[in-house]
């Protein structure tokens, strides 16, 4: 459960990045988050896990207020895939990075191994297991960064541009993976076709406000609405 009420946020004083956002997502829901560059998608996701703070309004994750006191509980339930995969990965080897969360949550070795194997198999990257991260291609790193949060087996999944840098086959595979995950997911992306394939509901951000929130097909087929928010129709709906 995610509950946001009258959220206002600014990085630098006077420039509102998010302006009076109210949004609520139920367990099991898949929500697409779309908007032009700089619309505030990443910022919204960061606020949910507390890596951007000092907001006005109310944010609740699973009934817990997002604040210093609750943040580690919230993070334990929430997997967050960075937009910039290069800064998400920091261990030398793929297997160590995927194991980082389960090890830190104190699981026994067998459980850590089980989770690592499962996450790698889910993403189809068992062959990268013992590779050095600094030698991977961009797309491979993206896949690894997704595996690092699947090994947490989180209750809530937040993804910032998950399909960026993926080739068509891996992108299709990612869509299947996302559709098989039963958790609450919020997916921020410019890949509107992927949003159509994975999310029933879509939230459109424009100028720091919610310009639309509703059924994905309706939101993403409204040419005027999208264009006023600086976007275009999904490729499959063009012409």
């Amino acid at each position: 459960m995610i509950d946001i009420k009258n959220l206002i946020f600014e990085y630098d004083r006077g420039i509102r990045v998010l302006d009076n956002i109210s949004l609520s997502c139920k367990n099991g829901e898949s929500v697409g988050l779309v908007g032009a560059n700089g619309a505030g998608k990443s910022t919204l996701l960061k606020l949910l896990v507390g890596i951007a703070d000092k907001y006005e309004g109310e944010i609740k994750v699973d009934g817990l207020d997002v604040n210093k006191k609750n943040i580690s509980k919230i993070r334990e339930k929430t997997g967050y895939v960075f937009q910039d995969y290069d800064s998400q990965l920091f261990m030398p080897k793929v297997v160590d990075d995927v194991a980082f969360a389960p090890v830190n949550y104190g699981f026994a070795k067998e459980e850590v191994d089980r989770r690592v194997d499962k996450a790698l198999t889910q993403i189809n990257i068992e062959h990268l297991r013992d590779r050095h991260i600094y030698k991977l291609s961009g797309g491979e790193k993206k896949l690894v960064s997704i595996a690092t949060i699947l090994s947490m087996e989180p209750e809530i999944i937040l993804m910032d541009e998950p399909s960026i840098a993926l080739d068509p086959k891996n992108r299709r595979n990612l869509i299947n993976i996302l559709n098989n995950l039963g958790q609450l997911k919020i997916i921020a992306s410019h890949d509107l076709d992927m949003i159509m394939d994975t999310c029933k509901r879509t939230v459109l951000l424009s100028g720091g406000r919610i310009a639309a929130d509703g059924d994905t097909r309706e939101v993403l087929s409204d040419k005027e609405l999208l264009e006023s928010a600086g976007l275009e129709l999904p490729l499959r709906l063009q012409k």
Binding site: V49, S87, A101, V103, N104, G106
Partner: protein
């Protein structure tokens, strides 16, 4: 491979070695940390003319090299940057401390030469011991051990972040220099006029990067503590390993072993 690429490669190589499933790698990290500290204290505690006693202390690094099946040649290659500094430390001793002890032909050995040699060897042994610790223990294990002896978590976290961060920093330098040389073809090195802005860029980028990495760790359950599963409970072999080394080191410290061999064979 460029020199920077090479540096990242080296760093990763050390971690690979440290993460191997060798017998010494699996000794409890606290035992290895404690032995390293004890070893360095003992080495430093030798008197400045006690060269023969000090040489016996080579037993520890030599044994670890063999137990861990490390390549001595590779290690020297890696240490070649540090060792000259260690040698410089003692360089003035022969000039100040010139009491002659004995002659080899027309060459007079003075106390200053002995004390210089002792100092250099102390430095080399200490560096070697620290290197060996890193080569048989992963950084997470070392941090875990540091926490066990109650080093404040803020310091331990700094150590780990720094270690994690070095290779990313080198990567960043490499990206910047590559981007520069692509747009300044035919130029050797980087023109001094842009040094300032490149360094500034590097600083900003690395601060961002450091923050992102730290965030990424926190989001995945890192809170300054280092958890390790049952792999890191003390077992009998850890205690034996520690006890045996402690005895050996103390014997080599207080019994003049090398001289004793001299008497037996000499």
């Amino acid at each position: 491979m460029s020199r920077l690429d090479n540096a990242i490669h080296e760093l990763n190589h050390i971690e690979d070695v440290a993460g191997r499933d060798q017998w010494v790698n699996n000794i409890h990290p606290l035992v290895k940390l404690a032995l390293t500290i004890i070893y360095i204290i003992i080495v430093v505690s030798f008197g400045k003319y006690n060269l023969s006693g000090l040489i016996g202390m080579a037993v520890y690094p030599a044994a670890v090299f063999i137990l861990a099946e490390l390549s001595f040649k590779d290690s020297l290659k890696r240490l070649k940057v540090v060792l000259p500094f260690v040698c410089i430390v003692g360089i003035f001793n022969p000039f100040f401390d010139r009491i002659p002890i004995y002659n080899i032909g027309s060459f007079t050995v003075t106390t200053g030469m002995i004390s210089m040699l002792t100092l250099v060897i102390k430095g080399v042994f200490s560096v070697l011991a620290s290197y060996l610790l890193i080569a048989i223990t992963t950084i997470e294990e070392i941090c875990f051990a540091l926490r066990l002896i109650h080093v404040p978590s803020i310091i331990v976290t700094q150590v780990m972040l720094m270690y994690r961060y070095i290779s990313m920093l080198i990567g960043e330098v490499e990206r910047i220099t590559k981007a520069y040389s692509l747009r300044a073809p035919g130029q050797k090195g980087i023109h001094f006029k842009v040094w300032g802005s490149l360094v500034g860029q590097l600083l900003l980028r690395s601060m961002d990067k450091a923050e992102a990495v730290y965030e990424s760790m926190c989001l995945r359950g890192f809170n300054g503590n280092f958890y390790y599963s049952e792999k890191h409970k003390f077992v009998m072999s850890d205690i034996i390993y520690f006890a045996v080394w402690l005895i050996i080191l103390l014997v080599f410290r207080f019994v003049p072993i090398v001289r004793a061999f001299g008497y037996i064979f000499g």
